[in-house]
């Protein structure tokens, strides 16, 4: 999937994946897609909740080994 920006938050613990995601999202325009890579297992639910509360659209999530990848479209 094509993303406009990649945030690499692998190896970081809560709350850093959310903080990095927010900072990345702040640089995008409405409709653009942010791709996030994390290894923090808590981020699976956290990023979904974050996207929901901010009104963004969670497009996809895949697990590749220990790495979770997310694609979120900015509201």
């Amino acid at each position: 999937m094509k993303a406009d920006l990649l945030v690499d938050a692998k190896g970081l613990a809560c709350p850093m994946p959310i903080v990095r995601t927010k900072k990345g999202m702040d640089t995008l325009q409405s409709g653009q897609v942010l791709e996030i890579h994390v290894t923090d297992k808590g981020a699976k639910n956290d990023l979904s909740a974050w996207a929901k509360s901010a009104g963004h659209e969670m497009i996809d999530m895949v697990e590749e080994g220990a790495v979770l990848k997310f694609w979120i479209r900015k509201a």
């Binding site: 190896g11 613990a13 809560c14 709350p15 903080v19 927010k22 956290d46 974050w50 509360s53 901010a54």
Partner: protein, 131 residues
Amino acid sequence: MKKRVAIIAANGGLFDAYKVFNIATAAAATEAEVAIFFTFEGLNLIHKEAYKQLPLPEGKEQIQQGFAQANVPSIPELVSMAQEMGVKFIACQMTMDVMGLTKEHFVDGIDVGGAVTFLDFAKDADITLTF
């Protein structure tokens, strides 16, 4: 309108600091307006010197290693991140007077206020937490 989160930090250990600052930074990253009222031992969490070496609960000292292994940010890092994201820090004037502390003892960018300063912010809060 932005969600508002009001937090009281009344304890001064390392665990307390993580509870307070993780919730505060996560809330700020979720576009909430966040203020923390630091009172009594909670003042340690923003004290320029004390916040670099907050105590672990007695008998749990070995957990220090766990923090490093899990790559958890340090408290000073979380404090500056929280401030950068607009989290407001209010230090309790009365506790500072009792403990002989002045604004200079604390990290930059804090407000000093009384209970009413916090209550005024908290009265419209969507979420209020005490640690």
